[in-house]
Symmetry: C5
Subunit: 86 residues, 5 copies
């Protein structure tokens, strides 16, 4: 899993039905690179989270028919920007 920080929500009115109406979040890594993750735990902007990729991302939503390749799997307790770089 990767460590990401939630940046903001992402709105996609035109989307494949296989993503259903799930919440998508823009997340960034410690280099500032952006990706988009499906949120299954209710993370808020600023939260440090772990993200799950590949086929596990689909199963982490609780429904493997949801076609995500990146899913927020948990909110990290006690993490700060400093720990990102140790």
């Amino acid at each position: 899993m990767k460590i990401h920080r939630v940046v903001r929500d992402l709105v996609t009115t035109a989307r494949t039905p296989t993503l259903q109406a799930k919440s998508l979040r823009v997340v960034e890594d410690d280099s500032g690179d952006l990706e988009v993750a499906l949120d299954s735990v209710g993370a808020k902007p600023g939260d440090f989270v772990i993200t799950i990729s590949t086929s596990a991302a689909r199963h982490a939503t609780g429904d493997p028919k949801i076609t995500t390749d990146l899913t927020i799997g948990g909110i990290i307790d006690h993490w700060s920007e400093e720990r990102w770089h140790d």
Copy 2:
């Protein structure tokens, strides 16, 4: 998912039958690196889109027998080149 911008269509007359006759688009990331994505939502050049990779790419087409590893999953509302770099 990654954030990509659609550049143009891609024509491959000689192709594996497992890609069927689906539309392919050249997409670029914020570094200008090019990839090719199957389009399931009707994106146009210039659109900012989210792209889905790994096994979810096949399922996002609606038919997991279609052998894509990258599928456009939605068109992003309210995104601009500036937001790519914040």
Copy 3:
């Protein structure tokens, strides 16, 4: 999918039986990095091709028991080295 150019054939006398006797090609990306792809469309050195990775690579051969992680999925019409870098 990635855009690659076919460089040459690759011969592996000692190989796992799960690759069968399929043709393998050395391919390069626009940085000159080399990978090896199974060829399902009959590409020749110099051809610009799209390559399919992850589980879709196995299915793109027509037989998912063939254990490739990169398969040539089509020959690109009207592509040149200049378009690689636009």
Copy 4:
């Protein structure tokens, strides 16, 4: 598989139930980049380990329903920081 060194434990009180209560470890590669791996072998901080990614990560836990994309698969005997860079 990748070669990683275990840095510390990671606590995520809010997590997807598909990760169950499995132990998570922060691991670093030889560039110092951090990832998070599920631990199936009882590794301790400072141990050099091999980590397994993609769908094999789920199966390596013994239960493929556990949605990890990176699992510690073994503790390396006789490895030191010097060998990382030879």
Copy 5:
């Protein structure tokens, strides 16, 4: 598939049972970056090999229950360090 050179054997006394007792090899790419591959063809240090990743790595062992994400799929005939960089 990637082109790797075999560096040495890797011993992991404490390992997940899903890797069984299969031989593991440290391999390097043309940048000197190290990974660990399960060996299904009997490669020796110094051999140039092709390595198979993702779900195909499990199937290339002949038993998809073996949880590897990188498997040596063949020994390359007639390859040298010079060809790595052409």
